[in-house]
């Protein structure tokens, strides 16, 4: 890396980033009623009886098997916030480049209602400084991540948040242009940078 453009950006503490746990904190208590004792005392002395199939509720999440958890803004945030900044060993979330309120999910054809599952996802990114030349790379990283991680019914739109970048329009045009995105992904150096950025998204080996 040549010259660092923004050497001293503001950082948000990891525990202050929006997370699902905080949103539905009451869950965590009720699901593991005996946190401390669980390690000492098994939940039930009488292990699931192997003779009666399907009686077991070994997996907690199976309790409400039919519950549907729709893809929401928080989930999108969780997908892109661990991407690391190309300049710092810090995540886009902690640098406030991506922010939960700047993620919008809207039905693509609202007039069709639930009949059309097509959804438009708009992510606005906020570069750490207004002349950040890496904004395009960051935007591209977010875009690649989302396209790999979301089902095809999502239309992904990544742009620079208004008023946060001096050449926002130009960057937006680059990010919105499918062919230019595809061409960029043929560039070996760029792909290398993107790969490094996305490394942080994996939760490690199985």
């Amino acid at each position: 890396m040549s010259e660092i453009l923004n050497a001293n950006p503001t950082i948000r503490n990891a525990s202050d980033l929006p997370s699902r746990r905080r949103l539905g904190a009451s869950q965590s208590l009720s699901k593991t009623p005996q946190g401390l004792f669980a390690s000492v005392v098994p939940a039930s002395a009488y292990l699931p009886d192997p003779f009666s199939p399907h009686s077991s509720d070994s997996d907690i999440s199976d309790e409400d098997e039919d519950e549907i958890e729709p893809i929401d803004e928080q989930e999108i945030y969780d997908l892109i916030s661990p991407i690391s900044d190309p300049e710092h060993p810090l995540t886009l979330g902690s640098l406030s480049v991506v922010n939960l309120p700047d993620i919008y999910l809207t039905p693509t054809f609202p007039e069709k209602g639930a009949a059309s599952p097509l959804t438009t996802l708009t992510v606005l990114i906020t570069p750490t400084i207004t002349h950040c030349s890496l904004a395009t790379v960051i935007g591209l990283g977010v875009r690649v991540r989302l396209e790999q991680a979301l089902p095809p019914r999502f239309r992904v739109d990544v742009r620079i948040k208004e008023g946060t970048h001096s050449t926002a329009e130009q960057v937006n045009r680059q990010l919105g242009d499918k062919e230019r995105v595809a061409a960029a992904l043929e560039n070996g150096t760029l792909v290398g940078v993107l790969r490094k950025m996305l490394e942080g998204c994996e939760s490690g080996a199985v």
């Binding site: 503001t10 009623p33 292990l47 089902p151």
Partner: protein, 1017 residues
């Protein structure tokens, strides 16, 4: 033929033999058969030979003779002559070896050393044109002289410094360099090098940084690290090097290679630790100016850490022997720009460089009490002001974090009440800030909006550290902190602040070690009074209190009181009708507390037995017979918990006491006529049958050699009791009670039945099995009994073969085949009651043996079986594999894999889950084994991961996890053909209704997408 002639002829083809000839000559010398003069004279014509190889061999012969002589044989005169002779011939290979031998002799004088040294300087100016082994010989001779005749060389002064540096110049071979570095280090440390510092420094620093990489299978075993450390020792050897070393090192910090940077930083640390205080002081600020960049603009964590270590090394050096906080000391001059810079960084506490600034302060703070003093004096007052003026919680939190770091170094310097630190005459500089800090942190903790969790967590950590710091807060102040923590745990709204509550409990536990009386006086009563007398609703507020109490009872004195109070509380709670979850939680707490103690040695064991085992059991009995009102205690789930508690206590009792428990396992300590035991009795009501749960617990707790009720010679036998239990089990339809009876059957067959009687069980098994095979109305309970009896036998390896064959024969039965298949999952499953702790006999090889018997049969019968019953075999197989050690599974992998793949086509989700589990393990342990089946594996796993209607969320999730293993473990060329079908197949799974499945799908897909890239490892 003379010796020399023989030697010359032999040395080419057979070195060892030639050496023998030289040895013979030396023996003849020692026995005076010949003289040294004769020997030397015999060399005459060869030693002046034109051909250099002949000359070399001749000198080699002489050297070998010298080597074989006893150390005292040669006179000083002779040594002198030989030395001069060899020095004159030093250019001939072999002479160096002879000189090495000579210089090791006691009569080798200083003068001879000097002669040798000068001869070397004179003749070896062209050292580098010689081959490496020769150079090494020469360097080793020099090294020998350096170690044995150091003073002689030292006296030569400049001559030796210049001579040595010239001699070793230009060396490139790592083996030689290892020797050179150690020679030079001696010169650097012991010679007067003032005039030659630069020459000497250059002679080693030209090798910096070491980029050597040993060739594969390097026979010499020299690593880059060996060279680096020797070179580093040289650079750090003399303070005179500082003017050359520091500027050049700082220069090299600009390197782009992290390895070089790390080497530079470690070398700076080494120099700072060994150069004189004055020297280090001269460069301390310059060094700081360069090192700070590495820390504040951290690019690589470990480089920043190395740089911190370098900063610390300078501070430690400058602190040596210092006990003055005067601002003119070298240490103070060094710290001044640092604290200034850090203070500036802290003005914007949320920016990236503020955190490393805190790390710098904390790292330097622990180096010495003086350093800590100077830092606190300059940093804490502005920190305080910044905190007051901070306009957001985020800023305040960042500043508090710095404070916590400073407190950590305070604790490192001054210790805690339990961990003493070396005493220091420097007063704790935090003393004047005590009230302010306690007020500030308490306010942050207690007067901030409740939802600022992360801020309050930091505040809590700060308060805790103030309490822990030795000789700092008064007991009443620590008492206040304890109250705060109590309040957080007890009073605050329970939702959403798990983090804070957990931290608060952790803090109390830590304080309970140093101030148990405060916990006892403040926390304990507060917690107890918050425990409700009844819990009608699903509210589980009491849980966090019980958990807290349990964790706090580290001290024996505290836990004694807790046990007593909890029993009283249980009494009250049972009188009030309410949810049984609460009494169960109290019993769990008791279980936890008792499990933390050494029960067999506990003086109160008797009273636990009396109050808990006998007392509570009695209550159950009275209620079950209608003599007392039924309480939550009589519910099956509560009985299970009480049972566990009883097992633990009974296990700790002495043999005598256990005996008296054993003869009452069914009468349950009831008074004469108050309760009729359940066995051997018809139509006992459910409330009384439930007591079998307690009977199981007692039976589990007593040792194997005691006599159980109903099994003594007068009233019956184990066989008879077993038959009765079988009868009860067959008729029982309440799951908990049935399970208790089945476990008793397992305990009897495994633990209590003497080995000579195990044969009878196989008869019982045979009867039951043939009964099952004949009737058309199959009884699931009978299958259960069969498997529990067999479990007892298989675990102790008694008639394993026969028992398992009977079980396997059930699989093909259309009626009870499926239930039996499920039973195989039970056979080897770990069980809480039938466990080693409870004295069950569980042989090491039981699993292996069961595997060896079952798997081949299952594989064989599966092929012949009807389509309708094929699943039975797969279900049984998955049950067996579930608890099998991986290495056993691997031994039969070729038979198993095809079966496992077919199992994935079954509908039963438990079986599918178990199979995916096995496949996951197999793929992880031996990716090669699955390579051949990749196609069907991938298809089936994708299928299991898709279709939420068919597969439960956990099956889908685990299938994805398994699928994710392959990229990186299985070679790319095998996977590549499936890459598209995986990434395409998973597109749909990205829309799975469950979030954790989607998450796994994203990662799995990413792993396959990134696959074609070379793996970094």
């Amino acid at each position: 033929m003379s010796d020399i002639q023989q030697y010359l002829l032999t040395v080419g083809p057979d070195k060892a033999k030639a050496s023998g000839i030289a040895k013979e000559t030396s023996e003849r010398l020692e026995s005076k058969e010949t003289t040294l003069i004769e020997v030397v004279r015999s060399l005459g014509e060869y030693i002046n030979e034109e051909d250099a190889t002949v000359r070399t061999k001749t000198i080699g012969y002489l050297s070998e003779i010298i080597g074989h002589l006893s150390p005292t044989f040669l006179s000083r005169q002779q040594i002198q002559t030989l030395c001069e002779f060899l020095c004159a011939r030093i250019e001939d290979e072999g002479a160096v070896g002879g000189l090495r031998k000579l210089q090791g002799l006691g009569r080798f004088s200083k003068e001879m050393a000097v002669t040798t040294f000068r001869a070397m300087l004179e003749h070896f100016q062209d050292l580098q044109i010689r081959p490496q082994p020769q150079r090494l010989q020469i360097l080793e001779l020099l090294n020998d002289l350096m170690s044995k005749h150091r003073n002689a060389l030292k006296k030569l002064g400049n001559e030796s410094v210049v001579g040595i540096t010239d001699l070793v110049m230009g060396e490139k071979d790592p083996r030689n360099l290892m020797v050179i570095f150690s020679i030079l280090k001696v010169v650097m440390m012991e010679w007067d090098t003032s005039g030659h510092a630069e020459t000497l420094f250059d002679s080693v620093f030209c090798y910096f940084p070491i980029t050597f990489r040993p060739p594969p299978d390097d026979p010499y075993g020299i690593t880059a690290q060996d060279l680096k450390s020797r070179l580093r020792d040289c650079v750090a050897a003399s303070s005179y090097f500082a003017p050359y070393a520091f500027p050049q090192l700082i220069d090299k910090l600009d390197s782009t290679s992290p390895n070089v940077k790390k080497d530079v930083l470690q070398t700076i640390t080494a120099c700072a630790s060994s150069y004189s205080v004055t020297t280090v002081s001269n460069y301390s600020v310059t060094l700081w100016d360069s090192l700070k960049f590495e820390i504040l603009n951290v690019q690589e964590e470990d480089l920043a850490e190395e740089a911190l270590v370098s900063l610390q090394a300078i501070a430690i050096r400058l602190s040596r022997g210092l006990d003055s906080t005067d601002p003119k000391t070298p240490l103070a001059r060094y710290l001044r720009p640092i604290t200034k810079e850090c203070n500036e960084q802290l003005h914007e506490p949320q920016q990236k460089q503020a955190k490393p600034a805190g790390q710098i302060l904390s790292a330097l703070g622990i180096t010495s009490p003086v350093a800590f003093y100077l830092i606190v004096k300059t940093v804490v007052p502005p920190l305080n002001t910044l905190y007051q003026d901070a306009d957001s919680i985020g800023k305040q939190r960042a500043l508090l974090e710095v404070l916590v770091q400073i407190m950590d170094s305070a604790i490192a310097v001054y210790g805690t009440p339990s961990i003493l630190a070396p005493t220091s005459t420097i007063e704790n500089p935090l003393e004047p800030f005590k009230d302010r800090l306690f007020e500030l942190t308490s306010q942050a903790l207690m007067s901030t909006a409740a939802d600022e969790v992360s801020f309050r967590v930091v505040a809590l950590k700060a308060v805790l550290r103030l309490c822990l710091l030795r000789k700092y807060l008064q007991d009443n102040e620590i008492g206040m902190a304890v109250q705060y923590f109590d309040e957080i745990i007890l009073v605050e709204d329970p939702s959403g602040k798990d983090d804070l509550k957990k931290e608060a409990i952790r803090a109390l536990v830590e304080l309970s070690r140093i101030k148990p009386n405060l916990i006892m006086d403040i926390t304990f009563p507060a917690f107890m009074s918050k425990l409700p007398d009844t819990s009608l609703f699903e509210s589980q507020e009491y849980l966090i209190i019980l958990e807290g109490l349990a964790q706090l009872s580290v001290e024996k004195f505290v836990s004694d009181t807790l046990i007593r109070r909890l029993l009283n509380k249980l009494d009250v709670v049972l009188q009030n009708y309410g949810s049984s979850a609460y009494p169960r939680a109290i019993l769990s707490t008791l279980h936890y507390v008792l499990s933390q103690r050494d029960l067999p040695q506990d003086p109160n064991l008797g009273s636990y037995h009396e109050n808990i085992v006998v007392g509570l059991t009695n209550r159950v009995l009275l209620a079950s017979t209608g003599q007392a009102p039924t309480t939550a205690l009589n519910e099956d789930a509560t009985l299970e918990m009480l049972g566990r508690l009883s097992t633990m206590i009974v296990r700790a009792l002495n043999r005598h006491k256990q005996k008296s428990v054993a003869i009452q396992v069914y009468s349950l300590f009831a008074e004469e006529g108050a309760f009729t035991p359940v066995p051997f009795r018809k139509d006992a009501p459910k409330s009384q049958r439930s007591t079998m749960i307690l009977s199981t617990a007692l039976m589990a707790g007593v040792g194997r050699s005691v006599t159980l009720q109903y099994t003594d010679i007068d009233s019956g036998s184990i066989q008879r009791l077993l038959a009765e239990l079988v009868r009860l089990a067959l008729a029982e339809d309440v799951p908990a009670i049935r399970q208790a009876i089945l476990r008793q059957i397992g305990l009897l067959t495994n633990k209590f039945l003497p080995s000579q009687e195990t044969r009878d069980i196989t008869d019982s098994l045979r009867n039951l099995v043939s009964g099952l095979l004949e009737t058309t109305t199959m009884s699931e309970n009978a299958v259960r009994v069969v498997f529990w009896e067999a479990k007892g036998l298989v675990l102790r390896l008694a008639h394993t073969d026969e028992a398992l064959r009977r079980l396997l024969s059930l699989l093909s039965n259309p009626e009870c085949g499926f239930a039996s298949a499920c039973g195989f999952g039970l056979l080897l499953a770990p069980d809480e009651v039938l466990s080693k702790e409870n004295g069950a006999s569980i042989r090491l090889l039981a699993k292996q043996k069961a595997f060896n018997i079952c798997v081949p049969t299952i594989a064989q019968d599966f092929r012949k079986a009807d389509t309708a019953i094929k699943p039975n075999y797969l279900v049984a197989l998955s049950g067996i594999l579930k608890h099998m050690p991986t290495e056993v599974i691997m031994s039969e992998i070729d038979i198993l894999l095809p079966l496992l793949l077919q199992t994935l086509d079954l509908e039963d989700s438990d079986v599918k889950a178990a199979t995916i589990q096995s496949l996951t393990v197999i793929s992880q342990e031996s990716p090669k084994a699955v390579e051949g089946h990749m196609g069907s594996l991938v298809t089936r796993l994708i299928k299991s991961a898709s279709d939420p209607k068919m597969n439960t969320a956990s099956v889908r999730h685990n299938a994805l996890r398994c699928l994710r293993i392959f990229p990186g473990r299985v070679k790319g060329s095998t996977l590549l053909p499936y890459r598209n079908s995986v990434t395409r197949g998973l597109l749909g799974v990205l829309d799975d209704p469950r979030r954790h499945v989607r998450k796994e799908a994203v990662e799995c897909r990413a792993a396959w997408l990134n696959m074609d890239e070379p793996q970094s490892d």
